[in-house]
Symmetry: C5
Subunit: 305 residues, 5 copies
């Protein structure tokens, strides 16, 4: 995810990085060339005039508006729900740390609580790696006890096992009478929330917007764009390539954004900054445990994940 | 439900499987033939010119947009809520398992907890079978004690009885002093959530979008499409069949998708992958109980349910 | 509420029962006759040509779209929220029954729990009768103890008093030491949810969509429809009656649906099947208490409430 | 708030009371007169023809639709959320009363609980008076102990202090060992909900829709309406005043509704019936405490608040 | 944030302060001058006629509507969610204060509770300063103990550390047996809510609407506006500058509002009145602790933050 400093309205017109323009440029050029050819031949194909005007496009526009509007909203909802879940992870991680520090018996040593906190941080990394299908090995070795890290290797649902481990940490403390049942249940409650976050991310990741929507939307947009020059050439002549490319730009760009943010856990430029969030969790929990955190360039608003 | 690998924008134009095209093709062909006939007779019916132009279609388009937009959103909301409920089932199943493993007295033997976990898995299958009106017998025999499986046969609301059984398992543990009241209530809380999921699925399954909406939407779409050639023939001549079929495709496809995902628990190609979710629940709980899970082809993104 | 088996797209065009067509037919006939008269006189009124064309209707259409879209969404939200509340009632009734069966002391006899369950069922019927302003006497005599049923007669907010009675049942059990405070509070929590459902239904029932919306929407639709023939007659001649009736059908039908589902607790054909839900609650709780339930024709998908 | 009996579609066309027509009539008359003048002079201003046609209005219509649709939804959401909060107040008031009656020690006398219930009722009135900026003195004297009513006079956030007082009532009962900590916390939980309701109402009341929206919406609507006659006069001649007034009616009426329900706590005719809700709370709690309630004319559907 | 007294519809047309007009005026003037030039040259550029008419703008309008509608809704949702979070902060601050006053042991002295309340107030200020990236030093010195204020200086996530401190206050009270575990957990629950508020604000502040949306929206609006005179000049002649500026005003104003409220924590005129909310929290908690509050000009509806 790329976050940029806010630009004024004028400079925003010429932004290149972070927009979808680089990605869709070839298609726009193709559209421009096609339109120019159509203008050159006055809308004729093999000396046979294509009898189109602008009216049918208004009718198609209707269906297009419904499709685009829906797909865009559905994609953004997925993006924003995913962001909420990861925001919730930070919240919950802090709450669990606070509970470990203040609800239990103060006699239990700091190192034991650090283990607990490391498990929480490991959960965040495990979730990130599962969603991006990357290898969590390195992060686990840094954060977990060797034997547990080892045992996770063959496990399919890694984050779920880490939550179970968190539960067992609490159970151990309960057995050693460091906390009572009421506190145990209060912490367990926040483990339920961790479980909600895990399940929510899995749901978004495993269930795309029904495939047919994308197919119909794609077809409608591209047929629309490539028929458009024939419909405009008679009324606006040599302006056709410019206008068609402009209209095509708005539709194709929107379609490209929709496709990109539909899967918010990827590493494309509009996807969520999972690395940054994991780092924030690690920093914030560390700080609560009494560590000093050096301010990272993460704050200066140009994040690339 | 069919989930496919992501295609690039160009190859997506020619997708066949997983789109609604195969289903609606006959209607589109009928529409194409009708339009061609209209063109051939220059919009005359028994030598009597039908005086239509494009203007009225803009007006009808308005109502159509409201109907289509609404029905589409309502259907997708049902689909997505159903998905959330089943996602919640996975979450809740894991939470209950974790609670059974870590909240209670560790002395109680592993086999007893396995019974509890089997009941949870059986709940998932029971819900699936109730929603699809299929026979749960086989799954029950695999998972439940014979006498209980037997007693379920004559029961109408099977999942509700399984929840009661889960409650009784907890009650038994409480009576044997393996857990105290606080823990009992904490687990009971998650049984409330199971009950929410059950009730939510029943609600979606038993209450379709009010029937009148579908009827009016259907009539509007088909009358619109079959009048359209008469309105276009004078202005775009022999392009009429192509354009009418294209416009018809967008509307009829959307209507078909809406009808399909309105009932998300079916077995059509855009419905929810309930089999896969049940399998995931079984795998994940198994893993939490210490079993090894072999990675299934479920991961390689072409799921057919 | 009428729920029908799913029809294929073609047969759906000719549905009569369960659609709003019967209700609005007279208005459509009036519209057809008016349009025919307008065609006959070529849009003149007392030999004075009405100078209308289609353009102003596009402008009015804009406001109409906002109004119709909004009223439709608001109505459906009310309908669906009402359905959720009644679905929640089934869920909560089951949860309370489960809690009575498994959280308390098993020594307390079955008859006492049956009283509790009957109170819950009576709550459902009381709510139905309050919302439909019908007489709950018969159902109360079947379910409640005579003296309590008698005392409810003069009561204005009957369901609220039944919830208080449920609370007192729990209090009695607590005093007799059959349950402890923790369990009492856990059950009380679900009584809070019953209270939420009651309050939610009262809210929907007592607060319609602000009256002005309906008035403006109505006026706009009918003025629009009855001016339309004058706007179309010059351009589409004798097709005017057909097209005007078709356009009028879509708007008037939508308006009729909106009016119908706005009050979801009535007994019109698109309202909620409260009788069926009450019956389901009674059946499901009975089954949890160990009764055999005969499968009712309720399942075969043609429910008339 | 005025709630009327449901009228049939025809009589609804001629409703006067409860619609916004009386309020906006002067503006519509001005619009009608302007349009008539424009027709009389054939769209000329000082013999200078204004060259407008309908096309630009379609373009402006787009922005108008976005603004109107948005402001309308945002306003209605505020209205409906406010209604939900007040519905929640009734729910919560009942729950607290039930808890006071059934969770505590039955030995404590009825009068003490009546004090608690009076505090709840006083909270409702205090909230109403705060939102409408009226004087709560009279209601407080009727419901509260004199010294506490006195002490509230100089207080700025009155409802917040009443919630604190409710908390202290519980604390007193706890200290006298009439309830234990678990029950205390359960009741405290419902006090949290009271606090939510208070905060929610304050939020809606203190944060209007950003002012700029209203300004731009207003300007767009009125400039649109007063330019419209010049755009229509050439094509529909003497029908212009009728059509312009009709279009103006729909936009201006919607704008007026939006402005009215944006502040749902006022006393205009579409605002919430806070008096009636306060009365309902007082009646329902009274009934739960054993009082007889006479049925009020509140039920016969013509409420004026 | 500027909140103004409600104006009547007429005076609202001439509002200057608090509208976006001052900000966008230069762009509108540029648009007006361009349009005038286009009219002067009859739409020719270097004696070469630009062949544009209004039709393409209808097509572009479609995409524009989707973009503007979406960005506007997404921005307002952010604004309103941010407002809800800060409203929740007031609610939660009051609940925590009430709990400190009524749930614990009354023997603990008032000064200790005042420390707790000061921590809550400091949390509000800390959050404000973090979101606006300003220096909290002064507020901390006023509210916190010197050594703790000092230790916060080098901390990155200040509000999170304050929540931990609140937890430790409770823990201390628990250790000194002033409260029991149940109460400790009940208060801890409200700390979880504080944590939710913190995380929610961080999420909104750190994750803007994906950058590409703004870029495409901006480009579309400005290209649209600056092409528009060429499309209108042939049909409405010298009215072009007026109409183009009017249309441009609606689009550019909406775009400016969207940009402004997208970041609701800033200090622009439509952003949230965080100073006022912090003051309200301080006042309301003070009042609950028994202080007298003088009514501030905050009530007279012209807030500038």
């Amino acid at each position: 995810m790329i976050i940029r400093k806010k630009l004024n309205w004028f400079r925003m017109l010429f932004v290149w990085r972070g927009s979808v323009l680089p990605e869709i440029l070839p298609r726009l050029i193709a559209l421009f060339l096609l339109s120019s050819t159509v203008v050159y031949f006055h809308g004729e194909l093999f000396h046979y005039k294509i009898p189109l005007n602008i009216a049918p496009f208004t009718l198609i526009g209707l269906a297009l508006a419904i499709f685009l509007g829906f797909c865009n909203n559905a994609s953004y909802d997925r993006f924003w729900e995913a962001r909420k879940l990861w925001g919730g992870l930070l919240i919950d991680a802090r709450s669990l740390t606070r509970q470990a520090l203040t609800l239990g018996d103060a006699e239990k040593n700091h190192a034991d609580i650090q283990d607990f906190v490391n498990l929480i941080i490991a959960f965040a990394y495990a979730l990130k790696h599962q969603l991006r299908q990357t290898d969590p090995g390195e992060d686990f070795q840094r954060l977990l006890k060797p034997e547990f890290a080892k045992s996770l290797e063959t496990v399919k649902f890694k984050p779920a096992i880490i939550i179970r481990e968190l539960g067992q940490w609490i159970y151990r403390n309960k057995k050693e009478d460091k906390i009572d049942t009421i506190v145990q249940v209060a912490i367990d409650n926040n483990l339920n929330r961790l479980s909600d976050i895990l399940g929510g991310c899995e749901r978004i990741s495993n269930t795309p917007i029904p495939y047919t929507y994308s197919v119909v939307l794609h077809r409608t947009i591209y047929i629309y764009c490539f028929l458009l020059p024939f419909g405009l050439v008679d009324s606006i002549g040599w302006m056709t390539p410019l206008i068609v490319t402009f209209i095509g730009y708005t539709f194709i760009a929107l379609d490209a954004i929709v496709t990109e943010i539909e899967e918010p856990f990827g590493v494309e430029k509009n996807d969520l900054a999972l690395n940054a969030i994991c780092q924030t969790i690690e920093d914030s929990l560390g700080e609560m445990m009494g560590k000093k955190i050096e301010k990272k360039p993460l704050d200066n608003l140009l994040i690339i994940d």
